[in-house]
Each structure stands twice: as C-alpha cells, then as structure tokens.
Amino acid sequence: MAEAEARLLERRAVVAKLLAERGDTLVVAGLGSAAWDVTAAGDHPLNFPMWGAMGGAVAFALGLALAQPQRRTLVLSGDGDLLMGLGSLATVAVQRPANLAIVALDNERYGETGMQETATAAGIDLAGIAAACGFPVAATVRDERQLAAAIPQIRSVPGPVFVAIKIRAETLPLVLPPKDGTLLKLRFRQALLGPQAG
C-alpha cells in the first residue's frame, strides 16, 4: 500500500490540465478509465474515445497523426491498453511522427475489471520501453513539478513523445462519452474535415 500512496497525482486533474488550452489538438482516448477521464474534462467532437479495441489506441492514433501532420495528435490511454499494444510503440518509432504524443495514465491496475495489478505494478517501465524504441522524448512523471515540466513537451515538442504519468489507483464516477461508433466517427470527421465529410 505504501507504494500505491506514493502515486500522488489524481487522474482527472491530470487529464483536465493536459486538455486545457487544447486548441485544435486531436485526442484519442484508450478504452476504459482514460475515455471517462477525457470525457470528464469536456466532451468534444475532436475526441475519439474507445469503448473496446483494447491495445489499439496507439496504432489508431498513428494513422490519424500521419493523415494530419499539421495537427498535434494526443493519445491518452491506460497502462492496460498500452501493455496489450506494446508492439505499436515500435511501429510508431519507425515512422517517427513528429506530431504524435502518447500519455500513459498509469495506475498500475486494470481499473475496469476489479483493480487487478498490471505488469507496471511489478516495475515494468513503459517510458523505458518507449526510450528503447527510440522515442526522442520518453519520460515518467510522478508529481506536480514533473507534470508541469512535461506538459509543454506533450503539447508541442517534436515527437513522437511518450510520457508515463503515475496516478493513484482510484475508482471514480463514470462520465461516459457517446457509445455509438458511427456518431463518434462522423462528428470527428466533420469537425476536422468539414460538414461534407461522411
């Protein structure tokens, strides 16, 4: 428990800070708590919250980032989703999209299924893996000072950027985005590409 208490940052406050002044940033949220956090910060047509497809958030965001090189694409996802798609960190690193930032909301738990420990609870270092893949920015954030330093990197330095943010394991009220995938897709495309986009 001492270890859990050492993770001081609260996920919803962290995500609210990351998405403040988001401008025209494109946001992909991995399934589960990350999607609820992003929605709690304010539903937005340029959010794509996932309701499934575990392990797919990073690869999905890669396609988006490559298609929209002038915009920042930000992935917010949990440690469980990222661990299931670890290979996609290698795939991203090969392409080196400068406009892609990946934030791991790492509570070291599978939050939707009963708070079972993930591999990061045993010390697996997500930022270390990203660094080994060759991400030019790969860092772990554990407190407010480090978070303040990481936010400009997440928003604007040439990437790909990977930041693992250690957060408390806490169960929060659900704040759910729309569930219909076609609605999520169409509202995003029309906000990005114009009203004629189907």
């Binding site: 497809a53 797919g56 690869a59 965001a61 396609g63 988006l64 298609a67 990005l192």
Partner: protein
C-alpha cells in the same frame, strides 16, 4: 494493362487510382513486389507492423484523419485481427485488406493450414466482406471492387489471393520464396 503474372503492379495501380496514402503491412513472400512498389511511391506511407491488428486500427485512424489506407498481410495474420475488427464494424470504418493465402495449395507447413483453411470464414464472422480470388488476371478488378465497397460503402472488404497464384513455398527446393 499489366500482364496477368504482374498482378502486384496491377494492384498497385488500383491503390494509386483510389488515392491510398497509407499502406500497413506484415510481409509475406507473395507480397514482396507489392510492398516494394508501395515503399518506393512518394505519395504513400508504407508502415511495417509488429502485428496485423495494428494495421486494422491504423487504417481506421487514417480514415478519421481524411486519408485512405490499405492493409497487406498473409493468412496467418487474419486471426490476429479479430477483436480489432470491432473498431471497424462498430464505427463503420472502411477497411481494404489484401491477404495472400498459405495453407491451401501444396502447403508443406501444417501450421499454416488452420488460418489458410478458415481465414475466409473467420473474416466473415468478424464482419468483413470476403472476395476469394484464384486467378491472377482477376485480382486488379477485384481489388478495385473491394476498394469501392470499402470507401464508398464504409465497409470492411478483404481480397484473399489464393496460394495457387502465389506459388508454393519449398524452402529452397525450387518453389517461390
């Protein structure tokens, strides 16, 4: 018009006509030439994957951002894609997949047979529309038709290229790599 045996050039020209900008792939010997053509085309981004399901997600993300993508893989990769197909079917993302088949015709490796024999059914169960092609001269038109279904119909379409077209792998005993 390309010669029938040059089906990779024909499929590539279909990709160009359909403005495919992102090509995600896990290689297969039978895809070597098509992958090389895509990699050498400045208007395309060819992305090597660590597993095929990444490509299902990646080309969906491409569409979200206004670009068209295609996924290239061999039949053994079909099984890796199954859950990620929920992203495609629930959001009605277009998916254009070109799959070279193993485990069908003169296969020497029994481990290729499960996906070779069941890949088409697995893709259908996962929500894709499947076109099985056994003649090289039909490939170009079939990929064109599949692209239209995918991008005009917002559906998942997979073209399965029969092993007989590709040739049988023999590990250096006279067949195609």
């Amino acid at each position: 018009m390309a010669e029938p045996e040059d089906w990779p050039a024909e499929v590539f020209s279909v990709f160009r006509r359909n403005d495919i900008r992102q090509v995600a792939y896990v290689p297969d010997a039978g895809l070597t030439r098509l992958i090389a053509l895509c990699r050498s085309e400045p208007a395309m981004r060819a992305v090597v994957l660590t597993t095929e399901e990444e490509g299902v997600a990646m080309v969906a993300g491409a569409w979200l951002g206004g670009e068209r993508g295609a996924l290239l893989m061999q039949s053994s990769g079909i099984g890796n894609c199954i859950n990620m197909m929920s992203l495609v079917t629930q959001c009605r993302f277009p998916l254009l997949a070109v799959v070279t088949m193993r485990g069908q015709w003169g296969e020497f490796n029994p481990w290729q047979v499960p996906m070779g024999q069941n890949g088409a059914a697995a893709l259908r169960l996962a929500g894709a529309h499947v076109y099985e092609v056994a003649e090289a001269e039909r490939l170009g038109e079939t990929v064109e038709a599949a692209a239209r279904l995918a991008f005009e119909g917002s559906l998942a379409a997979a073209v399965l290229i029969a092993q007989r077209i590709i040739g049988t792998k023999t590990f250096g005993r006279g067949g195609h790599g």
